[in-house]
Amino acid sequence: MLISDLPVLQVVIPLAAAPVCLLLRNPRHAWACALIASWLVLAIALMLVQRVHAVGTLSYAIGAWVAPWGIEYRIDMAGALMVLVVAIIGALVMPFARRSIEHEILEKCTGLFYTCYLLCLCGLLGMVVTGDAFNLFVFLEISSLSSYVLISLGSRRRALTAAYQYLIMGTIGATFILIGVGLLYMMTGTLNMVDLSQRLPEVANTRTIMAAFAFVTVGVSIKLALFPLHQWLPNAYTDAPSVVSAFIAATATKVGVYVLLRFFFTVFGMQFSFDAMHVGEILMLLAVAGILIASLVAVFQDNVKRMLAYSSVAQIGYIILGISMASAAGVSAGMIHLFNHAMIKGALFLAIGCIFLRLGSAELRDMHGLARHMPWTMAAFVAGGLSLIGIPLTSGFISKWYLASAALSGGYWPLVVLILASSLIGLIYMWRVVEVAYFHVPGTMMHKVREAPAVMLIPTWLLIGINLYVGMDASLITDITRQGAEILIGEALQ
Amino acid sequence: METVIYILSWIFLLGGAIFLLVGAIGILRFPDFYTRLHAVSVCDTMGAGLVLAGLMLQGGFSLVTVKLLLIFYFMIFTGPTAVHALAQAALQGKLKPVVDEHEQQ
């Protein structure tokens, strides 16, 4: 096995680890297996980023069958960034998971939990690196099915309905994607994305391709919870086990956004997507509505996880807003926010996971005076919250800055104001938690509450650390996203 | 010779189709579960058998005929068994047969 096999290995390792996990009787062993796999994936992801940086886009023909006859893995800078996001979150969530999972789900399910987690990881990675439209569907289903299971493991019975709702909406979305891919195939005879992009211009003005575009867009939008197709998300994030909320919130929707990017820019081409189909205007409208409405709804939530979930819907709005500008600056800003938001939300949900471990609840009313008993956890939460609001020296600021300047250079004046003003709504809902945790008098139950264990705090703070580092020095990440955006836009211009 | 076999096979096929049709009408027309089951089981076994026989005649001595024979073998076992199971289940479910009220009196 050589360096050149890395693109496929990073997907195959979790895939192979999953059945091994199933075989292991002892949950601890299963955990160790999942841990090793996800760390290996992170190592590979880092190597991949470095390689893509060095040699440019990587292509790997699986089974040595060259595209378009075989399935191709294709990693460019944008893909490498996504792989990195998924791998970082996956690797950091795992050490956290053991204590949290032991506490939140039944013991007999823990081994299976890690199996499903690995499958989800594998599915998400596969979606990112694949260069084949149908293979995308297959891996989408792997990640979706496993995430339904993961979500259903939440301790309340509402987790079941949340998972079911997600299953129905997710399957509708996936079927829409399947229809879209089918129509594309019908008109071009190929499934390979690059091949598709070369053959599409000939038939671009047919009604079939327009329908295909619509179906793919709607299908992916369901997966990434674009307003108003987000109904599954708040329930799913609220009732899933904390680890799952953190993992899925930070990765699944982001991968969805990435898939949308792939389709818009690589497959259909920018000209078709934005000039012919006017998707930019539609997305911008939906993004703005999503940002405002979801943020406002978040303010009125009493469950912190639900609040964060609505905030996720709003934040996805920011990412889409960047993309909808259809400029290199906008797409790059969207991708920066994609990375940053993954880290922020991951950290916030992990912090909530720590709280859940000690409190057994994520309701605001149970958190009175929590900061005195769990100072480190709450400090992480506040740091993540500040980042979400976009205070300078945090990663959130970087993304807001880029988004605002992209909007400015695109001449979208009201958007700049909106971006800045809506971060204030973020301030309101984050501060509700801060006030309760720092200023309310602790209840009697609170005396037993201790700080979360170090194995859970360290991953949380590592994510916060990434946030702060990006806030201090964003050059690395902006470099990557700039290259990624250029490749996406550049391909479209060819 | 071929023409004879051809005509014969069509007679079988059509005959089978008629049986199946009759069975279907029976399902619709008969008054209760047991009689409907009766109609469908009897007619189906015969109809399907005839259709298979017709097809075998068309297939001649080939692998296809062997496969058809196998199907026939399966059919004659599974059909009655299924119907039996259904009737048994209905009986267990306390489903009363509809009886002509005049006779009962």
Binding site: K400, S405, L427, S475 | -
Partner: protein, 496 residues
């Protein structure tokens, strides 16, 4: 230590101090010693820089570059030097005061109090020495966030309410307006560095510059120009030392300091003089001066009256800046210092009265001057300075402001200064009168259940010491205004 490193140390020292303070949280005396030591060292460090600056050197250091073209970097120039000197000196005094105040009030969470105080000071240093607008913005926000726990120190519903308003106004204006202005400026010019003569001239049309100026002036919520001033009275829920140093000096002065910086180094005085909006904004500031003074007249709560007075005085400085003349800038810079000393004295006094008598209302202060002669003497000095009567420091800054107004033939500005002087007198002198000349009525001696030990006499000695020092400073600055004046003159590049 090279000047560059000193600059860095000036910012880093108070930011790192909380580590030491927290480590010592079990032992109050060493903990307070740590605070005092830090503040003392900080002042010495800052002071050691002033020679260089007066000689014309501009120590600068860059730390990081979060975004291309946006650096976290420091550069010392006269105005920042002045602000840093003021803040670091008054920190020493306030620390002394705090020790006396907090101990006599048996406040909770003293460790976190001192820690956040140090962070706030560090942020103020960062603002003072910021080498570009981005760095300034970063520390501006850090200052808001680090003072939030201090404002809400009491932890009750009142404090939370005040804190909400504080955070809402300051973060709101800074994120929506100021950040917008920054992004815009950056996208127009590609830089946010402070440069002599500004960075906008020749890049933007006067119309756009006008909008930008509006965004900047109102975006800097800490300058409390109406209508973004309500946070300041709300912040009065904080313990008095916090109000004294932060809401009379560090935070609000950071606001007007930023305004001055923007006017001088982002727009440039010459460029700004040609924008019609400047004058209109000046009128807004003038209106703020008068309106806030009128509101102050009606306040019975001493701290609130002081807060409204601060709003009024801050707009002096904003108005100075918007006079866009070198003399006005000198006046504004001087007023930062002079008002700082006077106002901190007044707040110290208010705190001392609270400590000694548990009184917050002016109407309850009849005859208090007899019980607390030192305190009320200091209060009188502060009040005189606020009005601008010699021999107090306030006179000097007012003099320059008036000169600036006359130089630019701004009758409105000059008129407003005169008017507000009268109003100042109207809301401060009655307090002095009440304290010294009215006979104490029922309240002081006969309050039931009152601890007689506290009522008779002065506040704790540390408190009195602190307020005496600042009052003395107010007087001293009248006679020896050289240091601030030299710095400001160097900035404006000419003789008065």
């Amino acid at each position: 230590m090279s000047p560059e490193l000193t600059v860095l140390a000036c910012v880093a020292l108070p930011l790192l101090a909380p580590a030491l303070i927290t480590a010592l949280h079990r032992w109050p005396n060493p903990r307070e010693t740590a605070t005092l030591l830090t503040s003392g060292c900080l002042f010495l460090l800052v002071y050691s820089l002033h020679d260089d600056v007066l000689r014309g050197s501009r120590p600068a250091i860059d730390l990081a570059e979060p975004l291309p073209g946006l650096k976290i970097g420091f550069e010392v120039e006269p105005l920042g030097m002045l602000f840093a000197l003021l803040a670091s000196f008054l920190w020493i005094v306030t620390s002394v005061y705090s020790i006396g105040y907090l101990r006599s009030h048996h406040e909770w969470r003293q460790t976190s109090y001192y820690s956040y105080f140090a962070v706030a000071l560090g942020s103020a240093m960062g603002i003072a020495f910021a080498g570009n607008m981005f760095t300034l913005f970063v520390f501006y926000e850090l200052l808001t966030l680090s003072t939030y726990p201090l404002v809400t120190h009491a932890g009750d519903d009142n404090a939370r309410e005040g804190g909400r308003m504080y955070l809402g106004y300051l973060l709101g204006t800074s994120i929506i307006l100021l950040l917008l202005a920054l992004v815009w400026t950056w996208s127009l010019t590609g830089t946010l560095d402070f440069r002599a003569g500004g960075i906008l001239e020749g890049v933007v049309t006067p119309g756009v510059a006008g909008i930008l100026l509006v965004l900047y002036i109102f975006g800097i919520g800490k300058a409390a120009v109406m209508p973004f001033h309500l946070w300041l009275p709300a912040a009065m829920v904080a313990p008095t030392p916090v109000s004294a140093l932060l809401h009379a000096v560090a935070v609000v002065k950071a606001g007007v300091f930023t305004v001055l910086k923007v006017v001088i180094y982002i727009f440039g005085i010459d460029f700004l003089a040609n924008i019609p909006v400047t004058q209109w904004l000046m009128y807004v500031a003038a209106a703020t001066i008068l309106l806030a003074a009128i509101v102050a007249l009606r306040q019975d709560n001493l701290k609130l009256r002081l807060a409204w007075s601060t709003i009024s005085q801050l707009s002096y400085i904003v108005m100075c800046a918007l006079l866009v003349t070198p003399l006005g800038i000198v006046g504004g810079g001087m007023h930062i210092v002079m008002h700082g000393f006077a106002k901190i004295t007044l707040f110290f006094c208010a705190g001392a009265i609270l400590t000694a008598t548990h009184k917050t209302r002016i109407s309850e202060l009849n005859g208090i001057g007899r019980h607390m002669p030192w305190t009320m003497a200091a209060f009188t000095v502060g009040a005189l300075s606020m009005i601008g009567i010699p021999p107090t420091a306030g006179f000097i800054s007012k003099w320059y402001i008036l000169l600036g107004a006359i130089e630019t033939r701004e009758a409105v500005a000059a008129g407003v200064i005169i008017m507000s002087t009268l109003l100042n007198a109207a809301y401060f002198l009655p307090i002095v009168y009440v304290a010294f000349f009215r006979t104490p009525n029922d309240t002081l001696e006969s309050m039931p259940g009152h601890n007689t030990r506290d009522t008779d006499g002065e506040a704790p000695p540390l408190v009195v010491l602190a307020l005496t020092v600042t009052a003395a400073g107010t007087l001293a600055l009248f006679f020896l205004p050289d240091l601030p004046l030299d710095l400001m003159l160097q900035l404006s590049g000419g003789s008065p």
